[in-house]
């Protein structure tokens, strides 16, 4: 397959793959050649893509932990502080009755934990994002895989050749 002439003002190249294996081959090759800022598009998540790109563990879990702990503290603090605000004895029970307050603490743990998890995902995935994504193609939400490489003209020429060698159906500038 002939390599097209290298354009001096191209920012990146995108390769469109019909198979997951083609995409993985290209991603691994490019990683090995030192391409750091690869972007992969896939209609489904796949653990092999994450392995090929050597992804670190997502920090979303920290958001969940912090959200859960905050929710738990707030839930107990809410029930305890409002009970102390008006000391009304109900059913002969102590003003601060911890066993029933566990329900409030638990529900707040889940609520704030879940909302913080979503916030963590949105912040880390940089969503919402309504602008154009370089190299994105509508086929990537259907049945095609894509890989976008950025870099200087020589790097892009090499990426172009690697993608074609891995079986890309189409390689074009972005």
């Amino acid at each position: 397959m002939a390599t097209p002439p290298v354009s001096a003002n191209r920012a990146g190249v995108v390769g469109v793959f019909g198979t997951l294996d083609g995409l993985l081959l290209a991603a691994r090759e490019m990683k090995a050649k030192g391409y750091a800022n690869l972007r992969v598009y896939s209609p489904v998540p796949h653990p092999e893509i994450e392995q090929a790109l050597e992804k670190p563990v997502s920090p979303v879990r920290l958001f969940t932990l912090i959200g859960g702990l905050t929710g738990c503290s707030l839930g107990f603090a809410y029930a305890i502080s409002t009970s102390l605000d008006w000391e009304l004895i109900v059913g002969g029970k102590p003003i601060v009755s911890l066993p029933p307050f566990i329900v409030i603490g638990f529900e707040c743990t889940i609520l704030i934990g879940a909302l913080m998890t979503v916030l963590g995902m949105l912040l880390n995935a940089k969503l919402p994002k309504f602008g154009r994504s370089p190299g994105y193609d509508a086929r990537f939400s259907n049945d095609k895989f894509g890989i976008v490489a950025f870099g200087g003209p020589q790097q892009l020429a090499q990426a172009d050749a690697l993608m074609r060698a891995a079986g890309a159906e189409e390689v074009r500038d972005v």
């Binding site: 796949h46 307050f101 529900e107």
Partner: protein, 455 residues
């Protein structure tokens, strides 16, 4: 429902795994402009909703006297139906969260419709505590907010726990549903034109299927599932404590939380079958909603039915072994008192009818399954009716005994609640994919391979 646009797949094709492109095509097709069947269905639903609204208006106008409440029974049809709808919600979270954590591959075909059912069922359930109030406009008093009286909610009350549990459940399950929809909505956006493209662009939050997005999305999904699992178990436990914390004979039992949770999953699985059978037929989704999916749902119904039956037996045993005269009288009254007919429907539909599901022939026959699921829905509504109404009708002293039957005003509101639920569901299936596009693809071999692999 737009059946002209959706060809029925032939018998051979049903057993052939679809390709990624076919998944997109077949599921996005369900969003085609609705046909006559949809409009007729929606027309009925809106009429029922209007009637329910009229009944509520009468209640607001003339007070709770328009209901069939009879001293000492003031928790009747509305609280029964509240518990019924909360219970219906549970199987959606079981399928979307608990089966996700167990890596049950079959859930991918049924989870979206179940999760939507969860959200709409909680939205319906949440109306009933308000409908049940004499002065519905003061419903917000139960929420703990700073006010000039300086009085806060009583956090020792299970009714306040309920507010926290149900509102958390609604928020988290709606979030779970919405977040799960994002990749699918992006797939629809990429094929849509005009105003739909704009709408789906906004709803998808600009999702582009990039490795960064999937990486964090999957982590989020895992943690939402992990948080939803204890949540779903807690919500019906809290609902059960609305009763178990009281001293009414027949209510005051520690078995209530697991008993209610099992019953909730049982009724929810029944409702999932009730919804999916017509959905499969209307959209010709035979290739995706296969008999094995229904068989698995039937097995879940069978399992939870046996747990529920065991709980019923335990209740009688506890009443007998406690030696407490009031407990014994309550359970004798349940079977042989004036509400014997309610107990008959409850035990018949929840214990004996599901026994048919032991037969593979029956649990793989959709007509049988659909009919059995209707019995399950009926039986589980009556379970709550029997627990609530017979419990209250036969307390400690004979002067406290009474008899209550719901009147047309209450039943009109119950019918309206089914229409409210159906309205949201009918709208959902025309605006959003009722099957999860990306999760169904995940369960398929990726292009160029013969094995699925994946998460």
């Amino acid at each position: 429902m737009a059946s002209a646009a959706l060809p029925r797949p032939d018998a051979e094709l049903v057993h052939t795994p679809p390709t990624y492109a076919e998944v997109n095509r077949d599921i996005i097709r369900t969003l085609d402009p609705p046909g006559r069947g949809w409009f007729i269905g929606m027309g009925f639903v809106l009429m029922g909703l209007a009637f329910g609204g009229f009944c509520w208006y009468r209640q607001l106008r003339y007070g709770l006297g328009v209901t069939g409440y009879e001293p000492p029974i003031f928790w009747g049809t509305y609280i029964t139906t509240f518990v019924f709808w909360v219970g219906i919600a549970h199987s959606g979270t079981l399928i979307s969260a608990i089966l996700f954590l167990f890596r049950s591959g079959w859930r991918s075909a049924v989870y979206r419709a179940s999760e939507a059912m969860t959200v709409f069922a909680v939205m319906t359930a949440g109306l009933f505590p308000i409908l049940h109030l004499g002065r519905a406009w003061f419903a917000y008093w139960v929420a703990p907010y700073p006010n000039f009286r300086g009085v806060w909610s009583n956090f020792r009350s299970p009714l306040v726990w309920d507010i926290f549990a149900i509102s958390t459940y609604l928020t988290v399950s709606a979030t779970f549903l919405f977040m799960g929809l994002i990749p699918d909505v992006a797939a629809i956006r990429d094929q849509a034109l005009g105003w739909r493209k704009k709408l789906y662009s906004v709803v998808s939050l600009g999702w582009k299927n990039s490795d960064r997005e999937w990486h964090h999305f999957m982590r989020m999904y895992l943690f939402l599932a992990a948080l939803s699992t204890p949540l779903v178990l807690s919500v019906h436990s809290v609902v059960s404590w609305d009763f178990a914390m009281g001293i009414v004979p027949g209510w005051h039992a520690t078995i209530f939380a697991p008993y209610f949770v099992a019953g909730a999953i049982f009724s929810g699985c029944g409702m999932v079958i009730t919804i999916l059978v017509p959905l499969r037929k209307a959209f010709h989704l035979e290739r995706y909603l296969q008999i094995r999916h229904f068989e698995n749902l039937a097995k879940l119904c069978l399992l939870t039915s046996t747990i529920v039956a065991y709980s019923y037996a335990c209740e009688f045993f506890i009443a007998w072994s406690s030696g407490n005269a009031y407990e014994r009288a309550t359970f004798y009254n349940r079977l042989f008192g004036p509400y014997w007919w309610g107990a008959l429907i409850m035990y018949g539909c929840n214990v004996f009818v599901p026994l048919l599901l032991w037969s593979k022939k029956i649990r793989t026959n959709l007509t049988w399954l659909f009919v059995i699921s209707l019995f399950i829905n009926l039986g589980m509504w009556f379970e709550r009716f029997v627990i609530i109404v017979t419990g209250l009708s036969h307390e400690f002293e004979p002067w406290q005994w009474g008899y209550y039957t719901p009147n047309w005003n209450e039943l009109g509101i119950v019918a309206g609640s089914f229409c409210w639920f159906s309205m949201w569901f009918l709208l959902f299936i025309k605006f959003f994919p009722s099957l999860a596009i990306s999760e169904i693809k995940e369960a398929l071999p990726p292009p160029g391979r013969t094995e699925a692999g994946g998460h």
